[in-house]
Symmetry: C2
């Protein structure tokens, strides 16, 4: 998968990964890899700065903990993050609908 295609959609992915409960960065990477059958294998240099951006924007909240002698930063969705995720899911649907239509040549399931 072209990696640069992710641009603008990573935040939604990260928020979605935290939807099922708090996770630390490393676990987010694994979670996305599993959910996508290995096709989304994002490097730490992508994930960690992105999580910090989300935290600064107040969409997630991070907290340090120590598990098995290792430092972890666990992130959880804030109320604003939940709302943001909702909006981003709607954006994603609109985005795919618009591009799929413009791309043509492929049947697009009937839209509401």
């Amino acid at each position: 998968m072209r990696a640069e295609a992710l641009k603008g959609h990573l935040d939604a992915l990260l928020l979605a990964a935290l939807e099922g409960g708090p996770r630390h960065g490393y676990a987010v990477i694994e979670s996305l890899r599993e959910r996508s059958a290995g096709r989304l294998d994002l490097p730490t240099g992508t994930i960690y700065p992105a999580l910090r951006r989300l935290e600064q924007r107040g969409l997630i909240a991070g907290e340090w903990s120590v598990v098995g002698g290792r430092q972890r930063r666990e992130y959880r969705l804030t109320a604003a993050g939940v709302r943001a995720l909702e909006g981003k899911r709607a954006d994603w649907l609109e985005f795919t609908a618009v591009i799929s239509t413009a791309l043509g040549g492929e049947p697009w399931p009937a839209r509401a």
Copy 2:
């Protein structure tokens, strides 16, 4: 629509816009605007450089003409461009499938 989300998909859009026959840049913009019910209104500063990139890569071929006293650069798909469009459509389907799955929470219509 968040404009930056386009990143990585613009080429496919442009190739698709030329699929129905040769067009010049300005017409491509209008074509995309119409096909998307006004939601894709791309500035010339996005389209013209992108068309030149595609031409340099040999996916489209441009030719000057004069219509109504105005200079036009008509672009048409090359054989390589047709193949590239095919590949990009497949990429798009895979991309949306992967992201939609990872994003969860939204049903993804059954694919062929």
